[in-house]
Structure formats: C-alpha cells, structure tokens
C-alpha cells in the first residue's frame, strides 16, 4: 500500500469478493457490511495519500462478533443479541479505527464464547478451511477460519479458557492470549470477567505483534486495565533465541497425548533448540485441578454477567408472557442456547446457599495453588509451553478435557 501497488479500497474489495465466494461454505462471518467497510477503506486511502500512516492503515481486519462496533450488528453468536446494533465502540475497535484499519466484518463464534468447536453459535457451525468436515476450534473459530482461508488480513479473538490458542492451533495460524489486563475489556461482551482477555489472531508472529501494538494500552474505562509503560511488541522479533528457556510441564505430556501430536511437538522442540533456546522440564502438580476450578469459576462469573439479558433494555424479548417474571423467564429460555443455559445453571448452583463455600470458595483457593505452581517456574523460565491440543481434531469433536488441561492453567494466572 505504501508503494501504491494496491489501495485499501482494492484490498478490501478483494477480501469482500473472497468472502462472498467462500463464506457460504465456511460460515466464518456472521455479519459483513460492504458499504461500512468501504467507507473506512476510502478514508484510509486519503490518509495513505497524505502519508499519515501507521503499519495497519487501510488493512482489513475481521472482528470477533463479541466486540461492540458502533452501527454494526453485534450478536455474540446468540439469538439473544441477533438484532442488536451496537450504540458505541469497544476500546479495541476504537484503537483499530484510530490507526485507520478497516473493519471487514464480524466473525462467527460459540454463543457468548462458551464452546471450543464453534458448534454452539446460533448462526451455525464454522468449518475448518483445511478440512470442511473438521471443526475450526472455538470460541474464536470464525476468526481463526477467516485468517486461515485468506478471508481477512488478520483478526481479533478473545480467550477465557483457550478460545484464541486452541482455534489458532486447529486452523494452523498464530494466536496470542496476552497477559490479563493488557487489552481493555471495555465494549467486549463479558463471559467470565476475571479470565476474559482479547488478543490478536494472524498469519505470523510479526502480524500478531503489529496487532497487539494497536490493541494494548491502558484504558480507564476497564477497572482491570493494566497501567504499564507502552511496549513495542515487535522489538524482539529478530532477536536470536539464545538464552530463551522454555518450560515443558511434564503433566501436559502424560496420558491422553496422541502420538502424532507428540511427534509434532518433539519436532518443534528440536527446532527451538536448533535456534538457540534451551528446554527445561518443569512440573505443575496442580494443573489437573484447573478443569474443575474452571468449571466452577467461569460459569459462576457467567451466570452473574448474563443476568443482564432480561428482555427489558436490549436483546430478545419473548413475544408472549403473562407478567414480568414470566417475561424474564421466557425471554431468557428462548433467547439463550442450550450450552449457555447449562453454564448459567452450573454457575447459579455453585453460588447458591449451601454450595458457595464448598465449591466456589474452594475453587478460588485452588486457583491460587495453580497460580503458585506457575509463578514458581516463571521466574526461572522465559516461557512455558502452552500446547493447546493433545489429541488432534477428528471429525466434529468437542474439545476434550485433555485439551482444556493444557490451556486452563495459564488462563488462571494469565501470564
């Protein structure tokens, strides 16, 4: 674009044509709005002509349909919000607008980000571009499929228990879940607030760094936004890996790891070693407990967050009801899908009288034990191996517990 070989409008149209041709097959996008995208592309071309440019000016980015974008339908993959037009921009959207990136459309996702295979979306399954009979992973499966199939230059995702890392792995792209608090959650529809974190999904580490440079930063509207010095995430891209210590949690390489995945991991470990990194065996003895802990804490927070959908101020309202309580109960019963209702029931149960101490508080205590395991090693190693897929995806599987065991621990500490 800088060398004027292609304009933002041309590039945006190219992707829009590909979406028209392929989306009926992959279902990666829930909403595309050519006119709104092209308005941004034209504005970017004006900026480019005036040389007022940022690395992402004019670049078409797909946005997970969990981010409110003013004037765009924002559904979170749910019937509950199937007609919701966002009246404001999420912080992430504002940041992309500020540098003149183009919003190419809203990508499909598991309903309210609850799922790991993109099968819970009200708008239908997303297909893995590499094999249309396989799942793309989830919950950011639409973004992963869109990046993988060249239906956008890059995309955004969100990760609560693996929702960026796992679909990125299943679609063969790069994905990053940043440290909790690095990217503002303002305008990002809440699932489990103490775990939710937005991050980039792209075709290379360099692209991830360029996107994170835009997405990251302090925002006073998110009370958990980290106040840190601004970082340039591209700074170490060309640095050799000498001195990098990679921790391999032995618990992730135990039973349940299939032979082909083990082989692929061994090959990449060998590659990292060749590039100068060293590998350290570590142990996270409490990591198996991250599954029960997650299945208490995430639904508990979700049941509270999703209480806002009552059919009064926005969202779906049942067509018939007898009184206010009946209106709430019918609107929520009809507006939420099965998986969302299941998690609301779990969350409400563990928070209710008689269960709170035994389950919710106990889970929070074990969360600290798991975090302590990780902290102990993170002072010693520069990165830990967060390998999101022990058994490779067969045909339309749900994510197995073994996969969760590998992504949940780092979600809990969020490093």
């Amino acid at each position: 674009m800088r060398s004027k070989k292609i304009s933002s409008v041309e590039l945006t149209q190219l992707y829009l044509h590909r979406i028209t041709a392929l989306n009926s097959k992959l279902n990666a996008y829930i909403t595309v709005n050519e006119e709104m995208s092209l308005v941004q592309a034209r504005a970017a071309d004006v900026q480019l002509a005036q040389s007022k440019i940022h690395a992402l000016t004019g670049i078409p980015i797909a946005q997970k349909d969990i981010f409110c974008a003013m004037g765009w339908r924002t559904t979170c993959g749910s019937k509950m919000l199937s007609n919701f037009i966002a009246p404001y921009d999420a912080h992430v959207i504002e940041q992309f607008n500020r540098v003149g990136a183009v919003n190419l459309g809203k990508t499909n996702m598991d309903e309210f980000a609850m799922g790991s295979s993109n099968e819970t979306s009200y708008f239908g399954n997303v297909k893995n571009p590499w094999n249309n009979n396989a799942v793309p992973g989830g919950s950011s499966g639409g973004s992963a499929a869109a990046v993988s199939a060249h239906l956008c230059a890059a995309a955004t995702g969100t990760d609560t228990g693996g929702s960026i890392r796992q679909p990125a792995a299943l679609c063969g792209i790069s994905g990053l879940k940043p440290t909790y608090g690095v990217v503002s959650r303002y305008g990002m529809i809440a699932f489990a607030s103490s775990l939710d974190q937005a991050g980039p999904m792209a075709r290379s580490a360099e692209d991830l760094a360029l996107l994170l440079n835009v997405m990251a930063g302090f925002d006073e509207r998110d009370s958990t936004s980290l106040q840190r010095e601004t970082e340039d995430y591209t700074r170490d891209l060309n640095k050799p890996l000498n001195g990098l210590r990679i921790g391999l949690p032995k618990e992730f390489f135990a039973a349940g790891l299939s032979a082909d995945v083990a082989q692929a991991i061994e090959a990449s470990i060998a590659e990292y070693k060749k590039l100068g990194a060293s590998v350290v065996d570590i142990s996270l003895p409490n990591s198996r407990l991250s599954i029960p802990v997650y299945y208490v804490l995430a639904p508990a927070e979700a049941s509270s967050n999703l209480s806002r959908y009552d059919g009064v101020r926005y969202g779906y309202r049942a067509p018939e009801y007898t009184n206010l309580a009946d209106m709430y109960e019918k609107s929520r019963a009809q507006g939420f899908g099965e998986e969302v209702k299941r998690r609301i029931m779990i969350g409400t149960s563990v928070l209710s009288h008689g269960y709170y101490d035994a389950y919710y508080l106990q889970a929070q205590k074990i969360r600290r034990l798991i975090a302590q395991d990780l902290s102990k090693h993170l002072s010693n190693v520069t990165s830990s191996w967060d390998q999101p897929l022990p058994p490779l995806p067969s045909i339309w599987p749900r994510k197995t517990m073994t996969q969760c065991r590998c992504t949940f621990p780092t979600s809990i500490l969020s490093r």
Binding site: G315, S349, S352, R367, L369
Partner: protein, 95 residues
C-alpha cells in the same frame, strides 16, 4: 452430592430461566455430571490458602468525582424491545 429435581427448579427460578419438565430432567442430569467432575476439588487441602478471585493482586483505582458520561438516552434506547416517551415498558408490577 444429593441434588434433587426440586433443587433444579429452584436454581432455574433463581437464574430466571423458564424450564419444561423435560428440560429440568436434562438439567438435573447435567448438573449431577458437573458435580461429579468437580467433586475432585473436595479432597484438596486448602487450609490457610486465601481465595484468589482475580489474576491481578491490585486494588481498584479511584477516579476524580466528575461527570464522565453524558445523557445518550435516545441512542441507547434504540436497542430496546419496547419504549414509550423515554421509558422502558414492562408488564405492570404494581396495581
């Protein structure tokens, strides 16, 4: 774990989720499964461990006591299922 079908109805009522008898049966089975999965936690010794509610060990920021949001009622009510003269309409609750 002794969770009865009546407990399921109670939880559904707390969560404001309407449920048919068949849905309640399904929810009952699902909840029993989940409680089976999370039962493993009970055996863990957490004596003296403080609950960790958040990844960050920081306290809430304070801000200046000034107006930061302006009235945008019409914009926000555009998404409402039913409004009248700037008010949200719901079934009557007071006689």
């Amino acid at each position: 774990m002794s969770l009865s079908i009546n407990d399921v109805y109670k939880v559904a009522r707390l969560a404001r989720l309407g449920m048919t008898e068949q849905e309640a049966q399904t929810a009952h089975t699902q909840l029993l499964n989940i409680f089976g999965l999370i039962a493993e936690m009970q055996a863990v010794d957490t004596n003296g461990i403080a609950p960790m509610s958040h990844a960050q060990d920081i306290s809430q920021r304070l801000r200046e006591d000034v107006v930061t949001e302006h009235n945008q009622r019409e914009l926000f009510q555009a998404a409402a299922p039913q409004i009248k003269k700037g008010l949200y309409l719901v079934p009557q609750v007071i006689e």
